[in-house]
């Protein structure tokens, strides 16, 4: 049933009432009225016939046929009279309303007359009326006549009149129907008027309420309907206003709570970030010095202890990296860069960093790829490397037997390549409940007999964020007894191989002695860099402020006996200025320093230094310093300067050859 609005329903109900009235009239009142009218007509016809009978008896007795014809003429003039016949004693027409019927017999007339009734009327002189069988509105009257002659004889004649009362009956019925029709019209008119009035009132009263409700629905809370009156609409208005106030309070409380939570979270992130950076700087020195110590000739016991210290320091570095990543993810600062990188090298680096953990658990760690050549992609190498790292950590955490397989699958065209990075463990398996929990992103509580799931869940948290940043999809498949599989699919673009240094090239670099300016506010870092660079036979000038650094550079311009700097290494944070400001100032001192390579040292991969003008820094290295990376960078940048001045011996090669 259609839910009709009042403006339709009310007229419809009134119209239905009107139709019922009209129907009642048509099926009850009208037939009754018609019957009454017909009865009245019959009486009237009888009276008329009687009157004519009397007049004709008189004129016929007088033998005045002209008078008879005149009387018949006047009767025939009545529009109700269809026909009038004067029959002689043999039932032939003596006079009629049309002279063409004169002399015709009763059966030779275009009107169906009852011959028996005619005879009876003529014989008895009585009056007899009948309703024509075929047309109920037609009356036929028969009347006997006596024409007494002066000689005492008497002729028996008869007069017949046919009346058509259809017009009269129609008019009477119509007139009787009028009140019902008028009432129905008035009802419908009244209904429309009521509808109009109600509709206007409803619209006027409801509009502010509907508007207010809509505005509250859209989130607005400063809503006031303020309808006057004591009716239901005024009650509804007050309720809506009260609801708006309540919603406003709740919204404000929610906003306050959200603000508070965001502030708390921001504080936490800032604290984590700050602590991580603070920890990273000394950790960088620890890792660096441990690496230096490890290069020395050590007895086995010391070498073992140094190795253990290196492993712990690396683990601590990873932890700090995670903390920094998490704080960046939460603050929304982590974006994917788009630069060419070698996917094969990235996975290999992760394998190198984690293989010893696999070995400790007695697990294998394999890498599979559906492409033999090194894979070069456009994208963010650090995020991809983190993806591999988290996949590996998760796999190693949950695998108990067998091992972990990392797989790289590339499909599609080079310009639109679908990259699938996955990790699969063998054996073990995962309980269904736990899998659901992990899928929902919940950190599972420690389960008895199930180890490493919390680590896996934590890795999964990271993976979810990395997947989102890469614009990919993460899938988790786990079958009890059949291991666990995480896979990340994302879209990328294959690119051509970039030049990679070979070991020989780096070795060649050792023959060139560089003059390097190191500006770092951390004493430990200055010492580490000075030691490392000195060991590689470079001359190092280390300063702890930006001002000192600029002074050293000015000196080189003034005093010709001082060797110019081949390379400058600048820390992110100096005591008196930032690394970016110093780099900008260096470029501004003189055109001589416009081409001097500057290496930036950062404690965070996506910090201000990374986001600075591309032309300021030739390379940015992230703490803790990787000796090999630093060595490669020094070689590349110094080589670049040499190449620009005329010669080149850079080779292209594979990852295996490079390291």
């Amino acid at each position: 049933m259609i839910n009709l609005p009042l403006r339709h329903l009310i007229p419809l109900l009134f119209a239905a009432a009107g139709l019922i009235i009209v129907g009642a009239h048509s099926f009850y009142s009208a037939p009754k009225t018609r019957d009454q009218a017909l009865r009245f007509a019959t009486n009237q016809a009888e009276t008329e016939l009687q009157s004519l009978q009397g007049r004709l008896n008189q004129s016929l007795t007088e033998g005045d046929l002209d008078l008879t014809a005149r009387d018949m003429f006047f009767s025939a003039a009545d529009p109700k009279v269809q026909a009038i016949f004067l029959f002689d004693d043999t039932d032939n027409v003596l006079k009629a309303h049309r002279s063409r019927y004169h002399g015709r017999s009763v059966s030779d007339l275009p009107f169906t007359l009852d011959a028996e009734r005619l005879k009876n009327a003529r014989r008895s002189g009585a009056i007899d009326l009948e309703i024509a069988p075929s047309t109920p509105s037609t009356l036929i009257g028969y009347a006997g006549l006596y024409a007494d002659s002066p000689d005492g004889s008497s002729a028996k004649l008869a007069i017949v009149i046919v009346w058509d009362y259809s017009r009269l009956l129609h008019e009477v019925t119509r007139i009787a129907a009028q009140p019902a029709e008028l009432l129905t019209t008035l009802l419908i008119g009244l209904a429309l008027l009521i509808t109009f009035v109600i509709s206007r009132r409803l619209t006027k009263r409801l509009e502010p309420i509907i508007d207010a409700a809509s505005r509250i629905g859209r989130g607005e809370t400063e809503v006031k309907t303020e309808l006057d009156g004591q009716d239901e609409f005024a009650d509804m208005s007050r309720a809506i206003d009260a609801m708006a106030v309540q919603v406003d309070s709740a919204k404000q409380a929610l906003a306050d709570a959200l603000n508070e939570a965001e502030l708390a979270n921001a504080s936490k992130s800032a604290f984590l970030s700050s602590i991580s950076r603070e920890v990273r700087t000394p950790l960088s020195s620890v890792v660096g010095f441990l690496d230096l110590v490890a290069e020395e000739q050590l007895d086995d016991e010391t070498a073992m202890m140094v190795s253990a210290a290196q492993a712990s320091a690396n683990a601590l570095t990873l932890l700090i990296n995670d903390l920094l990543d998490m704080s960046r993810i939460e603050s929304g600062e982590m974006d994917a860069q788009s630069q060419p990188f070698c996917l094969t090298m990235a996975v290999q680096a992760v394998v190198d960093a984690t293989i010893h953990r696999a070995q400790e658990k007695g697990l294998f760690l394999r890498v599979r790829a559906n492409k033999n050549d090194p894979i070069w992609l456009m994208g963010d190498e650090s995020i991809v490397r983190q993806v591999f790292l988290k996949l590996t950590e998760a796999g190693l955490a949950v695998a108990e037997t067998g091992g972990v397989t990392l797989e790289i699958q590339l499909s599609g065209q080079p310009r639109e390549t679908r990259v699938s990075l996955s990790m699969a463990t063998t054996g073990g398996g995962i309980p269904f409940a736990l899998l659901d929990q992990i899928r929902r992103g919940e950190l599972p509580a420690s389960l008895e007999g199930v180890t490493g799931w919390q680590t896996a869940a934590l890795c999964l948290t990271f993976l979810r964020h990395y997947t989102a940043i890469l614009g990919g999809e993460l899938s988790i498949v786990g079958t009890p007894g059949a291991g666990l599989r995480f896979a990340i699919d994302f879209q990328s673009e294959q690119t051509t191989a970039m030049p990679i240094l070979g070991k020989e090239s780096v070795s060649d670099f050792g023959e060139k002695r560089l003059v390097v300016l190191v500006a770092d506010s951390s004493h430990a870092n200055r010492l580490l860099l000075s030691t490392m660079l000195s060991k590689w036979h470079h001359h190092v000038v280390a300063v702890n402020t930006g001002t000192d650094a600029l002074e050293e550079l000015q000196k080189r311009l003034v005093y010709g006996n001082l060797d110019p700097f081949d390379l400058i290494i600048v820390d992110q944070h100096l005591c008196d200025m930032s690394g970016v400001e110093l780099a900008r100032d260096i470029k501004g001192i003189s055109d001589s320093y416009a081409d001097t390579p500057i290496i930036g040292l950062s404690t965070e991969e996506h910090g201000a230094m990374m986001q600075s003008d591309d032309t300021l820094f030739d390379q940015i290295l992230v703490a803790p310093l990787d000796r090999v990376e630093l060595k490669e960078t020094l070689f590349r940048l110094s080589h670049k300067r040499r190449k620009e001045s005329g010669s080149s011996d850079v080779k292209s090669g594979s990852l295996e050859g490079a390291l």
Binding site: D66, F73, A77, S99, R100
Partner: protein, 345 residues
């Protein structure tokens, strides 16, 4: 419910509401129209006509169903008698009559209007005399019978006028047309101005013709006179009456010789014989008669009145009937609205 079916349902509901609104307006309009109709339909116009070939087309129209339903109630006048009484009262609204009778009705004070000219007599009205009276001038000193206030009286007066015979030179016997044969046979009159069945009877009694309406073409005409009040109150019915007559006359003109005529007031043979001595008025002639407030008709009526005044049959200042061309023009428009009409009705 799916989105699609939900949308379709909403659309259907909106459409239904639109249909409902329109139905409601239609319903109230219907009821208002029906309720405003008081159920009263105008009564038909009651038209009297005697048995005469010139008026026979009225009966043909009735038989052929050419009158709009409920507009015309035709009453056959048995004889001329009673017509004045019927017209004076409210029994009859209109009557087919000679121009002479229309004039006499007007003189009697009946407010009538002539709206149609049926025909003109071309030998249908005659002046007959006994053997031995060969000319109109021969009527001097004789007794001449005629229905003096009718066309026959006019014919007699015109015959005397032509023959330069003074009315004072003969004796007038004013009698009904139907009585003339008996008076002639009884020798109570020597000549009779008569028409129709009476004319045949007088001829059969050995009379010869001295003068006829063909000697004064266009002067003896038959018209349709309507009570002026009825013309005002029921113009639609008057128009329907004239339109029916025009349609019937057109049909009869084109009626095949070998096909029986529709039922009229008189036997077919009598009609065919009588119509030969009549000229049925064309559309152009009717227009000419009725144009300019009936100027042409008025001239005829004035001549008739002058002649009657000489005999002191009528007052010199007697009122003439009014003439209206509007019903005839409306009837023509009505007919032309449905089909093209020729010049000849």
């Amino acid at each position: 419910m799916s989105d699609w079916s939900s949308t379709a349902w909403t659309s259907l509901v909106k459409q239904s509401r639109k249909v409902l609104s329109r139905s409601m307006l239609l319903l109230i309009s219907c009821f208002a129209l029906v309720a405003c109709d008081d159920g009263y339909t105008e009564p038909p116009i009651r038209v009297s006509s005697n048995k005469w070939a010139g008026f026979e087309a009225l009966y043909f129209a009735e038989s052929l169903g050419y009158f709009d339903p409920g507009t015309v109630h035709l009453v056959e006048t048995p004889v001329s008698m009673g017509l004045v009484q019927a017209m004076r009262g409210t029994t009859i609204d209109a009557a087919a009559m000679s121009l002479a009778r229309a004039l006499s009705f007007s003189e009697l004070g009946l407010d009538i209007t002539i709206v149609l000219v049926f025909d003109s007599s071309q030998g249908a009205d005659v002046l007959l005399a006994r053997q031995g009276i060969e000319t109109v001038a021969g009527l001097r000193g004789k007794r001449v019978g005629a229905e003096m206030d009718t066309v026959n009286g006019y014919l007699l007066m015109r015959a005397l006028e032509r023959a330069d015979v003074s009315p004072a030179d003969l004796t007038f016997v004013d009698a009904d047309n139907e009585q003339l044969p008996e008076l002639f046979e009884n020798g109570r009159i020597d000549a009779a101005s008569t028409f129709g069945d009476a004319e045949a009877a007088v001829r059969a009694a050995g009379a010869n013709q001295l003068f006829s309406s063909s000697d004064i073409p266009g002067e003896i005409i038959d018209v349709l006179a309507v009570r002026t009040s009825v013309l005002k109150s029921s113009p639609r019915q008057v128009t329907a009456l004239i339109a029916g007559w025009i349609k019937a006359q057109t049909a009869i003109d084109a009626w095949p010789e070998d096909k029986a005529l529709p039922e009229g007031s008189m036997p077919e043979a009598s009609y065919r014989a009588a119509i030969e001595r009549l000229h049925v008025m064309t559309v152009a002639e009717n227009k000419a008669f009725l144009a300019n407030d009936g100027a042409q008709l008025n001239r005829l009526m004035i001549r008739r009145k002058t002649l009657s005044a000489r005999l002191a049959l009528t007052a010199a200042d007697a009122k003439l009937p009014a003439v209206s061309s509007r019903p005839y023009e409306e009837a023509l428009s009505q007919i032309q609205g449905s089909r093209a009409t020729g010049d000849r009705p």
